[in-house]
Symmetry: C2
Subunit: 364 residues, 2 copies
């Protein structure tokens, strides 16, 4: 039947060209065929029961290899594609994995999502992206909307969420891995690195370069930015050089334009600074551009460092010193850990600490 094969190639749910006669001729009222090839159709062609088809196709339990072959062939012939909704309803579990990130406009999370997709998709799970905009009410709404879909797993960013969101996750029973930060709390699965240590490391680098009046510019003020600020303080206190007036924290969303503004304000407020640690590369790039515009020499007059090593930082003039964060690794390892949990491996829960890397360039 070449036409059937043809349609099997083209359509994910081909219609039966030669519609079988209904097996019973009894008066049936509510008939509403979707035109879809079903498990029953495959079973009929293969001469086995639907359950056997189900098992053969999923590779679950032992099925006679000859039957598996026959079923597979029948499924191919008809172009059978399982119905995800029926599967989800019967098994109380879908193959979608809910992934909650704060923003898509930060390249960091795009890299993270790419890695998650590359890990999950080939294993039969589909990431479902939800954007929280750093807003706990939005996060709650997303959870309320998507948890009823019974996702197979859940990937969330960090630990900072409302108590309600926390309970929604816990009560759902859906396996959950936290990304970008780590924790030692029992029963918590997470993959990340120490934002605080990384912040301290880059601060020490500036100190080693001989800088003494090192400022910190932070935007957005999400937990990870605050952890970097904490690392900055630790680094300066160790050197006995901490001065709270050198900190500038803005709740505004991080951006190149904001970085330019923060730089100008900082310079005006504390003219004696000789270095700035920006909490993210985008505001650091803005700072670099503002310095260029104002004729402030970098690093001669003021050294500048960023965080995350985003696109363009290596191209800036001067190129930007920063911290390369392992977001792709976090995505890959986090998704891998979740994979283990979704498949029922309890010991997979734990905490994975990944490193970071200082990238020294011309700006310091």
């Amino acid at each position: 039947m070449p036409t059937c094969l043809d349609s099997a190639i083209i359509s994910p749910f081909p219609t039966l060209r030669h519609q079988d006669k209904p097996l019973t001729e009894a008066p049936r009222r509510a008939r509403r065929s979707s035109g879809r090839v079903t498990l029953a159709d495959v079973a009929r062609l293969a001469g086995v029961s639907p359950i056997t088809v189900s098992r053969a196709l999923r590779g679950e339990r032992a099925v006679d290899s000859q039957l598996v072959e026959k079923v597979q062939q029948a499924a191919d012939t008809l172009g059978y594609v399982p119905d995800p909704a029926a599967r989800a309803l019967a098994s109380q579990k879908s193959t979608q994995v809910l992934v909650l990130v704060p923003l898509l406009s930060n390249a960091l999370f795009v890299d993270l999502l790419e890695a998650v997709h590359r890990t999950l998709f080939p294993e039969g799970y589909q990431p479902l992206i939800g954007v929280t905009h750093y807003d706990s009410a939005e996060e709650e709404l997303l959870l309320r909307t998507y948890l009823p879909h019974r996702p197979a797993g859940l990937l969330v960013t960090g630990f900072d969420r409302s108590e309600t969101a926390r309970q929604l996750i816990a009560q759902s029973g859906v396996p959950c891995v936290h990304l970008m930060e780590t924790s030692n709390a029992p029963g918590v699965a997470c993959v990340g690195f120490s934002q605080t240590d990384a912040g301290a490391a880059i601060t020490r680098h500036l100190l080693e370069r001989g800088r003494r009046r090192i400022a910190f510019c932070g935007a957005q003020l999400d937990p990870r930015v605050l952890q970097r600020a904490e690392g900055y303080r630790r680094g300066l206190r160790e050197a006995g050089l901490y001065d709270p007036r050198l900190e500038m924290l803005s709740p505004e969303r991080s951006s190149i334009a904001l970085g330019a503004r923060l730089f100008e304000e900082m310079l005006q407020r504390m003219p004696d600074i000789d270095a700035i640690f920006f909490c993210n590369d985008d505001i650091a790039q803005g700072g670099l551009l503002a310095a260029h515009r104002l004729g402030v020499a970098v690093p001669a007059r003021i050294a500048m460092a960023g965080f995350n090593d985003l696109a363009g930082s290596d191209q800036m003039v001067p190129s930007l010193t920063t911290v390369r964060t392992p977001r792709s690794e976090v995505g890959r390892e986090g998704a891998g850990m979740l994979l283990g949990m979704m498949r029922g491996a309890k010991p997979a829960v734990g905490s994975i600490e990944l490193g970071y890397e200082l990238v020294v360039r011309e700006s310091t």
Copy 2:
């Protein structure tokens, strides 16, 4: 029952605290309650049939307002949340909308997705993001994977896809709107703007500035980049200044780093150029930075223009002249059109042409 109310606030699918006795005591074997509050539970509490609950909650068909009230109250009391899988199976249609974009690393598509989400989500539809990486095989795989979920609608980028993908979409019967480009083909729904016209407009702007040797740098070479190139050619031909040697097309993915390389190569190959039109702001930013590094005066020696008006272009030194493209409007209007189609409005199909805006800054 305060505990029930409590749980209704917290969980999207609370368990029944006071489990009702099974109505029949007959020997039932395959019992497998999910612990979920169902339509039947609500119906029992409200004293009506499940169908009435279904209709009252969906607002479908006329239901006595008193009953609606009673049903609503029962649903609230029990914390009822409909099961999306059951709904999708029974109605052969989910509330997810598949959105296919080439890349998340281009801020353009992030803006598009934001607008789509803001339009669709409040109306009860959830965007399901798929990334094709400008690869038709990936696009096909995404369609094969997600179409069986019977999404309520489909949003795709442009018209450039394999014949198989085209057929997959057509045969699925899922309403589909094409974004970012327009077409006059009958029965095709699309929202976009003329990339060619926009490309011609910025070329004319450079001509008006007195430039005569205007180069074009294109990366990625997706259909929209090629359309901009076509506009560039049209503009130069009108002025009798077209020279194919001024075109530099690279299949590499667009990026700041690539822009720097393209600029250097272009300058070496054609030292007499006095302007460059970059197909996208990221490579234009790279060009600007490379010029700075090499000491090439912009715009004095070479004028530079980009495309899309991405983040940072207004902060560059000199700030970048570009074309502001209406991606948020495309997302909003495209999703709005799809909304009409999903609700069964046939006349909604059509072509919406949105404008673009020349943003003249210091670089030209």
